[in-house]
């Protein structure tokens, strides 16, 4: 059982992929630490996190099957 991760925009470009899975990640804080260790450039940009299509306002626990999206500032229109 794993979480699914989606990356968009500049985040996707920095990590070089747009969708992947991860296991043994307990919460969003740990996810960010993992990602920023692997991709240090992520520390230099700001991005939002949505869990199951809802933007999170503080760190939350991740459950199996959760879909976590890493989203830089929106620029539609």
């Amino acid at each position: 059982m794993s979480i699914k991760i989606l990356a968009f925009g500049k985040v996707s470009e920095l990590v070089g992929k747009s969708t992947w899975s991860a296991t043994e990640i307990k919460d969003t804080k740990e996810l960010k630490e993992h990602l920023e260790k692997e991709f240090p450039e992520l520390k230099n940009i700001s991005y939002f996190i949505a869990v199951n299509k809802s933007l999170i306002e503080s760190e939350i626990i991740l459950n199996p099957e959760d879909v976590v999206a890493l989203m830089p500032a929106f620029s539609g229109g």
Binding site: L6, G9, K10, K53, A69, P72, A73, F74, S75, G76
Partner: protein, 142 residues
């Protein structure tokens, strides 16, 4: 949920068809349309030739659905249509089309402007500006 995303630019004929469909709604007195057009901005002496749009489509459609409901509750509207491009839209082409209709003009005007503001700030869509030297730059909304 209503279809929002259109592959490539939104064409003038699509807009004309959308307008024509409202001629049978005889309680409408006012239409307000907003069209977002891709600008050939200059970035460090390079020209923007196109924007490539990507979206978190599922979340964007849900969010636009919520915006629709909230705007319908807030204003006295007969109709509302929202379309956004995905994929490549060249400079001079249209990537956003918001269309509101009401009995009196104030509702259509205010609703249209509010929808556009909310789409730009609340909906997960990203534009990558393609420059004329084949580099790119992630667009940022102000």
């Amino acid at each position: 949920m209503k279809k929002v995303f259109i592959e490539g630019p939104i064409l003038p004929n699509f807009i004309a068809n959308s307008i024509a469909k409202h001629s049978s709604k005889k309680d409408i007195g006012a239409h307000s349309l907003f069209l977002g057009q891709v600008r050939a901005d200059e970035l460090e002496q390079k020209l923007v030739t196109a924007i490539e749009y990507t979206a978190y489509v599922e979340m964007a459609e849900e969010k636009i659905h919520i915006i629709r409901e909230e705007i319908f509750n807030k204003y006295n509207l007969s109709c509302m249509h929202i379309y956004h491009s995905c994929g490549t839209v060249h400079a001079g082409e249209i990537s956003l089309f918001v269309f509101t209709s009401s009995r009196h003009r104030k509702d259509a005007f205010s609703a249209c402007e509010e929808i556009v503001n909310r789409i730009k700030t609340e909906v997960p869509i990203w534009g990558k500006e393609i420059l004329d030297n084949a580099t790119s730059n992630w667009k940022e909304n102000n």
